[in-house]
Subunit: 336 residues, 4 copies
């Protein structure tokens, strides 16, 4: 049994992480931290967990957490992780950071998150935790930068055609996310009556997940990409659905494309490629770690649709998948 | 054309009021007030109104508003109206107050709203604006205490049997409200993911609308009532559905009960009684000023269900209905 | 007062049409038709209409309807209108057909709707009822082919750049529709639990609204267009949000683009162009006849977002707008 | 490992059952049956199951199923189970029937389900599978009549006060159910636009779950009960929330009531009693087998609120709980 702490256990991602870890057969949760007035049973804050996780939730004390944990999940607001990661690395702890703090290089991070990043050493150590791309590196990683929800959804849609270099420059990613993607907070724009029975685009080509997608694309291909990333807010709790449009440089049939995707994802247990004429729905991936992908060619335009649960494959589930890989467990352990 | 101002124009009730008034054939909106940094077009704050209501929304200046208005709607947070009503009365303005400030007597108000009420004179002048109960008084009123949403829904369900004195002491009102009833604000408990796909009871027998219901019941009957009022939060934007259970003291058939209700509401254009075996749904009253009622007898228990739109018949629509009555317009003007 | 009949009054579009017409100051509803066992009060079928529209709904008798109507709205399933339109034309009635039957040419219609179209004469007479494009033709039309909901949403997003010829060949229209767009019927795929908390793409590049969009595009420009149209199902009742991506052939700034759109839609009362940095939401157009448009340039890609209520501007409201134009009323009459 | 078949695997309850059983550490699924044209992979019908349950779903062949199963779950429409249960009993199979067929006595069954019940012997053998009431009987049962969703929710709310005989005759159960309770089918009344943003009562005092509740009440107390059962349809996928009102015959404080409930449910792992002032929400029990209960006394009226997931504790989860009991597993196995 490995000993696990979750720091930032009260957001939606934190709760999902605690939920998954509490059922994981190789894990013992040894620490739950969040900003609390005084130690309080986790299940008193979140009655859903009563009888399942009744441990105390306490304020984060880095020494205490290190003393009792093999691996630490940081599910903190952006910019906060950078304050703790150097010490955790120094104490030889393994870290899975679910924030954006170790996903970009220093320049892009500071541009998009408006915050000076002082942990260059951590940035160099960090492995981008997309197992379908970086399996071997993850096995040996001490610090995982767990991918963002939108990037997971868009990159898994793109990896096969990027790697095969069968597309040209402009990529359009029309992504739609459930509300939990925005986090758990009091915010008029996220209140029920503002979101329900509505739909909107926001931060068109200005979302902080765009440079993350662009960075990974650059790392896998030298095609010069012009990324257009338009996020939308869906009136559902969970799920991201991305419709991605690329221009093919090769004449590929519907079947050839499907084969290309099936080949690429062969042996990768959490990506499911749909047969010709079938497309995924968000409901088919909710509460799972799967990313489901459907494909349609028309002329030289390939439409790729991908569906994930933003809190699972887009955050907590992928974090546990990374933990499984680091510890040599079956990737699926505790996740299927 | 009467000149109308809305003070507190940016909440959900305020917006609904502006929407209805902007289409009312006898009304000219002369003032829109809310707390704003600087005057701003109402339709810039709420793009829905673009092309319909492009007037400026300004901070509330009592003299200015009085100078240009015949009647003033106050759609303010509780306790705020008491600061303005005395001056508005002194200037001979007509007032429709949509807050709770003039609905209860001083003692109950202070107990339930935890605020000292200094306008005893206003309290005595105020007429409870439930047209189906107080039509004649409303015609002559200068100050209307516009009923709460839950009380409108529960009282319209009860008035006929209260007035006929065919029930005994215990009344159970199981009421379910859409989220807009809680107002427009940043509040984690009202955020999308907390409300969506869920349902809960809250403030069981401790809701501030209970004394309002009890006060009106006492004003129409001398039966000794034991009120049980359990509000619930429905994952919808608009609507209240109340299921009210009373014990009959008389052997009344289903048909006799329906006749009793039809008789009571005859000539009252906004209450619709359903035939035997049919019950209302919230979707049939949304965006209307109707209260729909269905009835079912089993033994000595009568189940009464009522449906309203909390923002219309439960607030803004009823306020306009009261305005219509005060000015001698058809009650339905601008509302059907 | 013009005398109006609605044939097909019980679908979602039919109900919306009856709702709008019942409030229109220049209209008297003289006929409501649908398949019914025996004549039944419309408000008995749809309690929402009680007190507003209590007229009988009867089976369609073409002579009877002609005898009492100046203009007839056909809100029928596709292929059914073709059986009635020739006779209605022969009787010199004005017709607004909300189905797809008169929108395409014979060849495309038969290909996409799998039905032989026998009314070539009607096809030639029909005017495509998009007032922002065809105002002058509509004024003189006897037969209006009222546009589809998706095409309205996509075409209004595209008209200014098509007319100015500032785009090249590939257009990507990523459209999301509320469920009422699929009509009122018993269908497992439309049942609550299948749609709620989910999202999906469907009929990717195979939707019957695609040729309608393509036909109108061809009629306004000679640019060779490669249309990619991906419809999605949104878990809301009403509304379409289209995100349309085009490649600019000219270097246009954000402000120039907005000016181009404002100029094009100047004097067209139902299209609202958003200022720089603002984008529409479905909730701002629900229950209105507006189409709201926002714009964003990045490099040579222009992202256009448009929002409409599929039942209003996408169907019944646009039909009434067309009626207003035909009869010389203000376009906005009964619609604002 | 016990060998398990599910007959009726394609409804919402069937799917939930397959989902739970597929993760149960002591179970091997050996048969999945439903009406199918030809054998088809379960995960092809329901893509969510891809990689988890790829077994074939076949038509029900009673001999084949008996040959490969120790226990058979019947998740069939009402009246269908009676055709198979006698043979399954004869073959010494264990049966958990999720329909209503073995819950009532013959007379009530025939009255409420309008169907002649020919398996009197089965009716006598059947044990009502509410583990919190019938634990010892379930251990020895061969045929379980798995409780209805509403009865589970209402009975768990009532058992402690019934058993303690501290209430009098009239019980009011105001129950609200998510849409999956109505089953998976094409039905206009269950279509998205009819249910969404609405709420209604239905079958007031005429729902077929009422006699089931009354039967169990009679079996545990000789108090003469007058049951009022009003079901409502909630616009959510899953969950039942029941607000139950009873009249106390004893002067019990809030704390005494809570203690009474905690005592009664002590050692029963799936019922959670909330502390003073706290009430459950549906979201806290969704996807779990818990029933959460909150309590509030006012005068002699006790309000009890209970929340369950109708597909889990109200159906599939409770069925697996019963299986666990029959086989001597921990009740929680595969369920927490």
């Amino acid at each position: 049994m490995i000993k696990v702490s979750v720091v930032g256990a009260t957001g939606y991602t934190g709760q999902e992480l605690v939920w998954i870890l509490s059922k994981h057969p190789e894990v013992r949760i040894t620490g739950l931290c969040s900003r609390v007035e005084k130690p309080i049973a986790y299940s008193e804050m979140f009655p859903k967990f009563k009888g399942a996780v009744d441990d105390l939730c306490v304020n984060f004390d880095i020494d205490e957490v290190c003393a009792k944990s093999d691996i630490i999940f940081l599910s903190l607001p952006h910019t906060v992780s950078t304050a703790f990661v150097p010490q955790l690395l120094a104490k030889n702890k393994k870290i899975i950071d679910l924030s954006a703090d170790y996903r970009l290089d220093k320049t892009d991070y500071e541009k998009w998150y408006k915050f000076e990043h002082k942990d260059q050493s951590g940035l160099e150590k960090a492995v981008y935790g997309l197992p379908e791309l970086n399996l071997e590196k993850i096995k040996k990683a001490q610090l995982i930068a767990n991918p963002g929800c939108y990037p997971t959804s868009v990159l898994l849609a793109l990896l096969p055609v990027l790697e095969q270099k069968v597309i040209t420059g402009t990529i359009i990613a029309d992504a739609k996310s459930g509300v939990s993607g925005a986090g758990r907070k009091a915010d008029l724009a996220l209140s029920y009556c503002e979101v329900n029975e509505s739909f909107k685009a926001y931060k068109i080509n200005e979302h902080q997940h765009m440079p993350e997608i662009e960075k990974i694309i650059k790392s896998v291909t030298d095609i010069d990409i012009n990324m257009n990333f338009v996020p939308h807010l869906l009136p559902i709790n969970r799920g991201i659905f991305s419709t991605v449009y690329v221009t093919l440089t090769k004449d590929l049939s519907q079947d050839e494309i499907i084969t290309l995707y099936k080949d690429y994802y062969s042996g990768k247990p959490f990506v499911r490629i749909y047969p010709n004429g079938k497309y995924p729905q968000i409901k088919d991936v909710v509460n799972t770690n799967f990313c489901d992908i459907g494909l349609k060619v028309k002329g030289n335009i390939l439409t790729i649709v991908s569906a994930i649960d933003n809190l699972v494959k887009g955050a907590a589930g992928q974090a546990v998948q990374n933990m499984n890989i680091i510890y040599g467990f079956d990737q699926k352990k505790g996740l299927i």
